[in-house]
């Protein structure tokens, strides 16, 4: 069965510190993985998709098939990065299977 695990419910970091949000998945095929972000009172927004290998708002994520991980990283956290972050797997037809989410709080 497909599963997405985000082990941290809450991540509190200081401004300027590195931040890493963990995501592990289980999936038998070749996964399509995404990170979504939800700022306070706003909609879910697509942050990154693994196939594009791009960096958005300073965030990067590398797919590690050996460790079945897709951790999200940013070298220097900013206060505006405070949000809920969801890792998601697409097993088929655009359907997304979400992790439970990690709330990031960046304190000055």
């Amino acid at each position: 069965a497909q599963r997405v695990t985000q082990p941290e419910k809450l991540l509190s970091v200081f401004k300027g510190a590195p931040v890493e949000l963990k995501c592990n998945y289980s999936y038998s095929g070749s996964p399509e993985l995404f990170w979504y972000v939800q700022y306070s009172r706003q909609r879910l927004q697509l942050l990154l998709r693994h196939i594009s290998r791009e960096s958005i708002k300073g965030f990067t994520a590398d797919l590690n098939k050996g460790e079945t991980s897709f951790h999200l990283k940013k070298p220097f956290a900013q206060e505006e990065d405070s949000a809920m972050y969801y890792c998601a797997l697409s097993p088929s037809w655009g359907k997304l299977q979400f992790g439970a989410g990690t709330q990031v709080v960046v304190t000055p």
Partner: protein, 112 residues
């Protein structure tokens, strides 16, 4: 920038009543989805829709639920005979390809 829009933002309904949640997907998108998030829980897939038919649905999406694209721009989720446990945030999403969806702002459904 084009957005997925959902109406209403909040709907309160009595148990047993029917509700219709409305969505206007991004205009050139071909794939449409409904998700829901019960308070404190994960965002859960309900259904995907392509070429005027359901392409996939979850076990949550039982006979109580139906979707429709009535006029080429709207995409609706109907819940017949609502139950208390249907209270959740319902998200509509659309995508151009089967690769990364764009979400609406959600409709909070409260069943009393």
């Amino acid at each position: 920038e084009p957005e997925v829009t959902q109406t209403p933002s909040h709907q309160v309904t009595q148990m047993g009543q029917e509700v219709i949640l409305r969505c206007v997907p991004i205009s050139n998108h071909l794939y449409f989805y409904w998700y829901r998030q019960i308070l404190g829980q994960k965002v859960e897939f309900l259904v995907s829709f392509y070429n005027n038919e359901i392409s996939e649905k979850s076990e949550i999406f039982d006979d109580q639920f139906s979707v429709e694209r009535p006029d080429g721009s709207n995409f609706t989720l109907k819940i017949r005979s609502t139950k208390l446990e249907d209270s959740a945030m319902y998200f509509c999403a659309s995508s151009e390809e089967t690769n990364g969806a764009f979400f609406g702002q959600g409709t909070r459904l409260t069943v009393v």
